[in-house]
């Protein structure tokens, strides 16, 4: 509503009109944004053509001279409830230096505020968009540790923690899956990732920072289940009205890398990200006689506890019954390592075992070292024995005190067996081991005094020593 009153206003109106003439000369043709947008009513859009441009100058003149307003707020640029001479200067100022237009801004936490584009830290939905009609989508990515065969056994399905998911080493690890990879247990190199969004049906997409990353809706890359990227961004994900979607990420390249997978709105605002690193290392944990892998991990099987800890830290760890290593080192464990080196770009190996698993650690390292010419380039970076017993067979009770061939760093813990407590089962000192010089006789420590063969693998001091030194010796 416009209103007029008194001679002073007429003088101001006349001055203003002269100003308007000048402004009209200064202006080109480009439409301008207005700072005076109130909701969907724009005081600067005096002719109500949904644009603030020089055409509004004439309309403003007409309005000031008594013309009819085309909207409730037209011309009331100073927002005082009247369209009069006091609006002329702000009208001119706005035309010369237009204030940013407002729009809905989703802050990434699901909250909507109306701000100028440059003030929006989240996803700005465009000029004139209001929060009343805007759905702010939030979303997250949850990546899981690698699969083994069709599922996760011998590990529990383990999500990468929020603290680790963008860490370049502790984040989700992924195996190279270039053509030629054997996958004896079936395709299990794709990493499961769950996409969650706050508003079912909201539009979200994925962005990758390395073209080696491919995304599938099935873990075994079934036909027509790939989500394609164009310029490293997907179309809106097929959420099908749901709040959650499971996808599988593949690293389809023979080259190693570290790369992000980002979840973003279809407008391009980043909602979440995970950082993948390709596995260059493989960790083989070999249990003792009668120790079987299980989910949940049996806390009395210290070797498997360490293996799980490393798995959760971003290593490609495998837990095995030691009998999968035969006396000459052959068997499924050897085949797994050879496949990793030959087809997955792995060039670092760590092996550790308890009791007969220690003997198998030697046998496996021996075969890998003896046959490296046919396997490829790799280093055995770390090995560890805990009370190692030779594993020529299940009835072998001899101490395993040979240092695993070619290992870069060898840890050794042992105790002294007795008939009554552990039927004489024990390991022994191993040359050039840590703690130097031949490993640790745990019975010489306060915490390990009197321990038996059946307890030594469960001491936190022993487990932590293996874990810490492996991590120090070899990145994932």
């Amino acid at each position: 509503m416009s209103g007029w009153s008194g001679p002073a206003k007429w003088r101001r109106r006349a001055d203003g009109l002269r100003g308007l003439c000048v402004v009209a000369l200064l202006f080109g043709v480009a439409p301008m944004a207005s700072a005076q947008t109130r909701g969907l009513c724009d005081a600067m859009d005096v002719n109500c053509d949904a644009s603030v441009d020089p055409l509004d100058i004439g309309a403003m003149s007409d309005l000031l001279l008594g013309g009819e307003a085309c909207s409730l707020c037209a011309g009331d640029v100073n927002e005082d409830g009247f369209t009069d001479g006091a609006d002329i200067q702000p009208f001119i100022d706005n035309l010369l230096s237009p204030a940013p237009m407002l729009g809905a801004c989703c802050d990434g936490l699901g909250v909507c505020v109306e701000t100028a584009e440059q003030d929006c830290a989240g996803d700005w939905r465009g000029a004139g968009s209001g929060c009343a009609a805007t759905m702010c989508v939030t979303g997250s990515l949850t990546a899981y540790r690698p699969r083994h065969g069709a599922a996760y056994f011998p590990f529990p399905k383990t999500a990468v923690s929020a603290n680790d998911k963008t860490h370049p080493q502790r984040g989700p690890g992924i195996r190279l899956n270039a053509p030629g990879n054997v996958d004896p247990a079936g395709e299990d190199d794709l990493i499961e990732v769950r996409v969650d969004i706050s508003s079912p049906g909201g539009g979200v997409a994925l962005r990758r920072t390395d073209a080696a990353m491919r995304v599938w809706l099935t873990p075994d890359k079934q036909i027509d289940s790939e989500i394609a990227f164009a310029n490293d961004v997907t179309d809106a994900l097929p959420m099908n009205g749901g709040a959650s979607l499971t996808i599988y990420v593949e690293w389809d390249s023979a080259a190693h890398g570290v790369a992000d997978l980002e979840l973003e709105t279809v407008g391009g605002a980043t909602l979440d990200a995970v950082t993948f690193h390709t596995f260059r290392a493989i960790v083989m944990a070999l249990g003792g006689e009668g120790q079987e892998t299980s989910v949940p991990i049996d806390t009395n099987n210290g070797t498997f506890v360490v293996g799980f800890a490393l798995y959760a830290q971003g290593y490609d760890a495998f837990l095995y019954d030691e009998d999968n290593v035969t006396a000459d080192g052959s068997g499924s464990v050897f085949n797994e390592v050879v496949d990793a080196i030959s087809h997955r770009g792995v060039d670092r190996v760590a092996i550790f075992g308890y009791s007969h698993g220690g003997g198998s650690t030697y046998d496996l390292a021996d075969r890998l070292d003896a046959q490296r010419a046919g396997i490829g380039n790799f280093e055995i970076e770390f090995t560890s024995y805990v009370d190692a017993v030779g594993n020529n067979s299940d009835i072998d009770t001899s101490q395993e005190t040979r240092r695993p061939p070619s290992t870069g760093l060898h840890a050794n813990h042992y105790q002294h067996g007795t008939l009554f407590e552990d039927f004489f089962l024990d390991g022994g000192p191993v040359t050039n081991s840590i703690p130097a010089p031949t490993g640790l006789d745990v019975e010489t420590t306060a915490w390990g005094a009197g321990c038996t063969h059946f307890e030594i693998d469960d001491f936190v001091q022993v487990r932590s020593f293996i874990e810490t030194n492996l991590v120090g010796a070899m990145a994932p």
């Binding site: 075969r367 046959q371 010419a373 046919g374 009835i395 008939l419």
Partner: protein, 298 residues
């Protein structure tokens, strides 16, 4: 009429004989296959009869609570075992079978291992005693006997396994004109087919130098290809041809245990064994060769 029938029968026998000869020639099998000395049979099921004296001695060892007592109790057990290794091993297997559920698999094997480490039986004596137990009527005992035998093979990646125990058993059978148990032959070929073949060659007292050299040379030609592949080296056309020629010759060899080598290797290395040779071995005159070829061709 009688005369005519008799003639008809003669023709029939003649035809049958021809068919047999043709069949034999087709598979390369000759008279050596019917040699009693190199015979192999499916062994009769073995049952262990409890020996109270041995079981008491084993029980006393198991019941000891101190290192010294253990050593002391081993002495009478050692005396008894050295007089009868087959009897000792049979009773040891029986104790394993009796105790494994109550004491646990790992603990029971540990006891067996500790007793054997204390007694230190000769490899040949142990293998001779354990070999028949491969046919034990109790599957758990047969499987454990196989595991114990494997421990006496002394397998390693850096040296050849030790088949002296196996060779000794087969040689003893040969010299006594006894058939060898098929279970032992299967165990040998499953562990190392090449070493099994050359061990049988010695056990069966082959004396034809040309034949010995042909077997050794052929096996070396095949092993050379496998060795080069194992270490990622290129195999030349000549080397590959030498290996496949050796396989072809072995598949037509007079000795069933040479043809058995081909039947076994044809599974692991099919490119070295022409498919028609493998197929012909499924119809071999020797039942163990047939069995192996059929099993591995599936």
């Amino acid at each position: 009429m009688f005369r005519l029938e008799s003639q008809t029968k003669s023709w029939a026998w003649g035809l049958c004989l021809c068919a047999c000869v043709v069949g034999a020639l087709a598979t390369g099998a000759r008279a050596a296959d019917v040699s009693r000395a190199e015979e192999v049979v499916e062994g009769e099921s073995v049952r262990i009869v409890r020996d109270v004296a041995f079981q008491r001695l084993l029980g006393e060892v198991a019941a000891t609570k101190s290192d010294d007592a253990f050593e002391t109790k081993l002495i009478p057990l050692r005396r008894a075992a050295e007089k009868d290794w087959p009897g000792f091993f049979a009773q040891l297997l029986l104790r394993y079978s009796d105790q494994r559920e109550e004491a646990g698999e790992a603990a029971t094997k540990l006891f067996v291992g500790r007793v054997l480490a204390g007694l230190k039986p000769e490899r040949s004596a142990a293998v001779e005693a354990l070999a028949p137990q491969l046919d034990n009527e109790v599957p758990v005992i047969a499987a454990f006997a196989s595991e114990l035998l494997r421990s006496f093979e002394d397998r390693s990646v850096s040296r050849e396994s030790d088949f002296t125990g196996y060779r000794g058993v087969v040689e003893a059978d040969y010299r006594a004109d006894r058939a060898t148990r098929a279970s032992l032959i299967r165990r040998m070929y499953a562990s190392d087919a090449g070493l099994a073949m050359t061990s049988l060659m010695r056990a069966y007292q082959v004396r034809d130098l040309a034949e010995i050299r042909a077997i050794l040379l052929g096996e070396r030609d095949i092993e050379r290809v496998l060795w080069k592949r194992q270490y990622g080296m290129d195999v030349t056309t000549e080397e590959l041809k030498a290996a496949t020629d050796a396989m072809d010759a072995f598949s037509r060899h007079d000795r069933w245990w040479v043809r058995l080598y081909v039947a076994k290797m044809g599974h692991a290395h099919p490119d070295l064994v022409p498919s028609d040779r493998m197929e012909s071995l499924t119809r071999d005159l020797h039942w163990l060769v047939r069995e192996t070829a059929l099993a591995t061709s599936k």
